[in-house]
């Protein structure tokens, strides 16, 4: 049986079938947990089909595993699914995080389990749909749909009495810009008569979408604004802290970042290439501000969840910086860092959830000296921290180095200054993470650990964390495994239209040979040479 044509449909709808099944089963004993676990594991196995059958040879962002059926005749909406190197890994990653999310909610969610797991699986459907849709309309449907389960998860399973406010804030922040996105989409349709992404991209490449450049600008801003809020990019991050503080662990793991960054890469860059390049200086400035601002605020937080929220803002800003440099290194690094962020950030949130489950507080002043009591938690926590701050040989290092080197090579004004400022974010993130480690694990025994016995990781939690920890290391030393596919997706985005004339192929090859190969070669020896370049860049 050849799965290639229906695999994406299966991946999207397997969680939906699972959600319906769970809704019908009785909410008794551990039925919900086992049901959700088996559904998510099954979906993950399905997603693994993609990397093993992906044809890595086909270059330059061609879509694979495509399925293209008519859905609605007028307006012309098609059920068009497909993945390329960018979305394939995000799909697999989403598939991987889901069973871990179930494992980690096993005991934390002890009431209204049916509602929780049904919403969790619906969220899964929406995210998978976002990553595999190639029809703008279908994509938008999943994009909007993804808001609902998350809002309800926050409203129902939030930690404090502020959960309702946090949920509504999250929804409004995401929904209102999405309304503008819909206007922009409808305008595009009125201009071109199609929602099909490859067709629109082809039209955009020929400058054939609309002769009205002002309207194109406004439409591109509609797209970018909707995505930037969801990332979030610096001044639009108002929802992030509340949502992260309230949402249950399994939901926080998928709350921010990947869907919106993916959307920028997939839709803003391919439908509005020129406008995206022109707005890049602003986005880079905002990203750098976000990096420094997030890190500085994280430095003064005593609440672990808030620290995690600002750290998330900082790391997502790194990715924004990388992709808006429009250099091959920056884009590759940005995309790779999306994966890193989900894995490291996911592990970090899982660990925070574990601590909260044991001690019912997020205030790090009440912790202290946990390393002696919970050795496994401490070990994994430190490993995760090292991964987040970008220790060489671990995953984030590859992403950060590529992003910073990409930003150093970009042709934008003041890129040296921006890169130098962004590099301080690396140092600051090490500062706040290590400060937190010290407070939580190594000081004198705090009031909470004294009064509450706590317990070390149980088998289920080990099972949820070790895959991520192994990935830290594998992704740190064997990045080409992922880069092969990512590179194919990033290559077409990386040429500034100002110089994209006849010399375009030469330029790309040149860029690749100059900068891309050293970091990608993945031998530890070459990786160690790159920080020298970066630090010299930072000092310049």
């Amino acid at each position: 049986m050849n799965l290639d044509h229906s695999i994406l449909t299966l991946i999207v709808f397997a969680p939906l079938a699972g959600a319906l099944l769970l809704a019908l089963l009785p909410d008794r004993g551990k039925i919900m947990q086992w049901g959700a676990l088996s559904v998510t594991l099954f979906t993950f196995l399905l997603t693994l089909h993609l990397p093993f059958h992906y044809s890595y040879a086909s270059q330059s962002g061609a879509f694979q595993f495509e399925q293209n059926l008519p859905w609605i005749a007028s307006p012309a909406i098609r059920y068009h699914l497909g993945v390329d190197g960018l979305s394939m890994w995000l799909t697999v990653l989403t598939g991987l995080l889901a069973p871990l999310g179930v494992l980690i909610s096993w005991r934390a969610i002890d009431r209204r389990k049916k509602l929780f797991y049904v919403l969790f699986l619906l969220q899964q459907v929406a995210m998978m749909g976002i990553f595999v849709s190639l029809d703008l309309f279908l994509y938008y449907a999943f994009w909007e749909m993804s808001l609902v389960p998350m809002t309800l998860l926050i409203a129902t399973f939030g930690r404090s009495e502020h959960r309702r406010r946090a949920a509504i804030k999250y929804f409004l922040y995401a929904f209102i810009p999405s309304a503008l996105l819909l206007v922009a989409m409808l305008w595009l349709y009125a201009q071109t008569g199609t929602f099909d992404l490859p067709t629109l991209a082809a039209l955009a490449a020929q400058h054939a979408i609309s002769p009205n450049s002002a309207a194109l600008w406004i439409a591109s801003l509609g797209f970018l604004l909707a995505f930037s809020v969801k990332v979030p990019v610096f001044p639009l991050h108002g929802w992030l802290v509340d949502a992260i503080a309230e949402a249950p662990t399994a939901a926080v793991m998928v709350l921010a970042g990947k869907t919106a960054l993916y959307s920028i890469l997939r839709f803003s860059f391919s439908i509005f290439p020129e406008q995206s390049h022109r707005i890049a200086p602003l986005m880079i400035a905002l990203a750098v501000i976000g990096i420094v601002y997030g890190a500085l605020l994280a430095l003064v937080q005593n609440d672990l969840k808030k620290l995690a929220a600002f750290s998330t803002l900082g790391h997502l800003s790194f990715i924004t910086l990388g992709i808006f440099t429009f250099t091959i290194a920056g884009l590759d690094g940005g995309i790779y860092h999306i994966l890193n962020h989900e894995i490291s950030g996911g592990a970090f949130f899982i660990l925070l959830g574990l601590l909260y489950e044991r001690y019912h507080t997020n205030d790090m002043r009440e912790y202290g000296g946990l390393a002696a009591k919970l050795p496994w938690v401490a070990t994994l926590f430190v490993l995760t921290t090292l991964s987040i701050i970008g220790l060489p040989m671990l995953n984030s290092f590859v992403g950060e180095v590529l992003i910073l080197s990409g930003s150093m090579q970009s042709t934008l004004a003041y890129h040296h200054l921006w890169t130098a400022l962004a590099t301080t974010g690396v140092i600051l993130s090490a500062a706040y993470m290590l400060r937190m480690i010290q407070r939580v694990f190594y000081c004198d025994l705090g009031p909470k650990p004294q009064s509450i016995p706590g317990w070390d990781l149980d088998a289920r939690e080990h099972l949820a964390l070790w895959p991520l920890v192994v990935l830290f290391l594998v992704m740190g030393v064997a990045s080409p495994l992922w880069m092969r596919a990512i590179d194919g997706a990033a290559l077409p985005m990386a040429d500034p239209p100002a110089t994209a004339q006849a010399s375009q192929p030469d330029r790309v090859i040149k860029l690749e040979s100059e900068t891309y190969r050293p970091a990608n070669a993945a031998a530890p020896a070459t990786i160690q040479t790159t920080p020298l370049q970066t630090s010299s860049g930072g000092a310049r």
Binding site: S74, V148, T151, T156, I168, F175, L186, W187, A190
Partner: protein, 520 residues
């Protein structure tokens, strides 16, 4: 069958009227203690039969009867079916509503049917006086229904308010008819369309249209004619609100579409600006007004003002796309709003003890299925994809954008952002635990789902139908859209097409030229 057209064309109305009269007669001989449910089933059967007859009429092409004052075509049949479906869903939802509370439930079923007759008559008449009669029939029964919870002061207030303001509005409509007669020498819509071209007083004709818009704008609760809506919706019984916020509105919109697009197509450039203003105002006032409401029915009253605004956006678009978008939106709005009010009926019961947003807190704990359905209808009202509300908005705003009205689309979609705030407040309330016990960590009784009063079978069927329709419109809108397109095209071809004004034809040519063929 060799029935004369005067029988066939109005057969649905005849069947409904006879069923209604039969119910009244049986009601008169029943003892007060007897259950009125069989009468309800009779009403449902009659309405269902009406639906089948209407569907059968679809095959007969365009029927004209009563010296050209009745015209049954796909357009009117679309609305007949819609009104029939709303009535059936409402009746199913309210079969048990009066049980044990009121002995006059039989009249309720009859009045609902008589109201439906009036609404159906409105949609199929092409003679303004006929439209007026239909409007009156439907209005009078709705006035009575609004006050049907005898002994409740708010209900009486609602009824009286609705009656006074409503008769004022119908007077406006009648005045409009008189002016139209003065300007064009006829009250037949086709003759008006032809008469405007040669009319010596085009301004009077436009004034006539304006008057009619005032009258119908009241019926659809468009701003600035919306002031009655919150009070009436708050006071009237929940199932009646479900009915009167959808079916009479559908009928009024059908009349408005017919008058605007086939009676006054020559003046489209003028009245489309008028509609633009009313639409923008309705959306904004409706949504801003709903923000501060704590009573759920009152909140949904403001929301229905806003939805009337969204629908009016379709009037600013070019005829074929605009009309079918409006038809689709009416259908989607009817499905989700009837559903939402059916849930409110179930939650509140006859006495309406639970009515504020705070009362809905923890509904998901007490009645999870009902809460899930409510969530679905609210999401559809917000306009989340995979629900009918989304495609309704989608078609309306894309039609407006195709006609070049970008700003109304921006206003509308920003409004739907504002709107989601209050829907979401309600939704979040449904899905959160009551505050008093939120801080307790141990299992208090409040966390244990209280065994809820089971939903009765007919109400369950009604809710399921509404939910299925909302979902269907959100996943496979093609069928209804096809029907709406059919209706739309029939509305335009039912009359000999007058040559469109130069500005309009130039604009529509632009719209045709714009789509670039997809380049692969």
């Amino acid at each position: 069958m060799n029935l004369p057209p005067s029988v066939i064309a109005l057969l649905p109305e005849y069947v409904l009227t006879l069923t209604g009269i039969l119910i009244m007669l049986i009601e008169a001989v029943l003892k007060p203690a007897t259950s009125r449910k069989p009468l309800g089933w009779l009403a449902i059967a009659g309405t269902t039969a009406t639906g089948f007859i209407s569907y059968y009429q679809l095959r007969l092409g365009v029927l004209t009867a009563f010296s050209g004052s009745i015209q049954v075509g796909p357009f009117s049949i679309f609305f007949h079916l819609l009104i029939g479906a709303v009535v059936v869903a409402t009746l199913l939802g309210s079969l048990d509503y009066f049980e044990g509370h009121a002995s006059h439930a039989g009249e309720y079923f009859a009045l609902v049917l008589f109201g439906a007759v009036g609404m159906m008559l409105m949609t199929c008449s092409v003679e303004l006086l006929m439209v007026f009669i239909g409007l009156e029939i439907s209005s009078i029964s709705t006035y009575i229904l609004a006050g049907f919870r005898k002994g409740h002061p708010t209900s009486a207030e609602a009824s009286l308010k609705y009656f006074l303001l409503g008769s004022f509005a119908t007077a406006f409509f009648l005045y409009g008819i008189a002016l139209a007669y003065g300007a064009t020498g006829s009250t037949s819509i086709a003759a008006i369309a032809a008469g405007i071209v040669t009319s010596a007083t085009p301004r009077m004709a436009f004034l006539a249209l304006g008057m009619m818009i005032v009258g119908l704008g009241f019926k659809v609760s468009a701003a600035p004619f919306h002031l009655w809506t919150p009070d009436v919706y708050q006071g009237a019984p929940a199932p009646v609100v479900g009915l009167m916020s959808t079916a009479p509105k559908a009928a009024a919109f059908a009349v408005l579409l017919r008058i605007a697009f086939s009676g006054f197509p020559m003046m489209e450039h003028r009245w489309s600006m008028l509609m633009w203003g009313i639409a923008a105002l309705s959306m904004t006032i409706g949504n801003l007004g709903a923000l501060k409401q704590t009573d759920v029915k009152r909140m949904l009253a403001y929301s229905s003002i806003a939805h009337a605004g969204y629908l009016l956006v379709a009037f600013t678009a070019f005829p074929p796309a605009g009309i079918s978008a409006a038809c689709f939106y009416v259908a989607a709005y009817a499905a989700m709003n009837v559903g939402a009010f059916a849930v409110i009926t179930q939650v509140g019961g006859y006495k309406e003890t639970l009515r504020s947003v705070a009362d809905y807190q923890g509904l998901a704990l007490r009645r999870p299925v009902l809460a899930a359905l409510f969530a679905f209808f609210l999401l559809s009202l917000i306009g989340i994809p995979f629900t009918g509300g989304f495609f309704g908005k989608f078609y309306v705003f894309s039609a407006a954008l195709q006609a070049g009205h970008v700003w109304i689309a921006v206003i509308g979609l920003l409004n739907s952002g504002v709107a989601c705030f209050y829907y979401l407040r309600l939704l979040a309330s449904v899905y959160t635990k009551p505050e008093a016990t939120a801080s307790a960590d141990n299992l208090t009784p409040a966390f244990v789902p209280i065994p809820a009063p089971a939903i009765s079978l007919p109400a369950g069927i009604g809710l399921t139908l509404a939910a299925a329709a909302t979902l269907m419109l959100g996943i496979l809108p093609g069928h209804i859209l096809h029907l709406a397109n059919f209706a739309s095209s029939s509305l335009r071809t039912e009359y000999p097409a007058a040559p469109p004004p130069a500005a309009l034809s130039a604009a529509s040519q632009r719209a045709v030229l714009l789509p670039v063929s997809p380049i692969q």
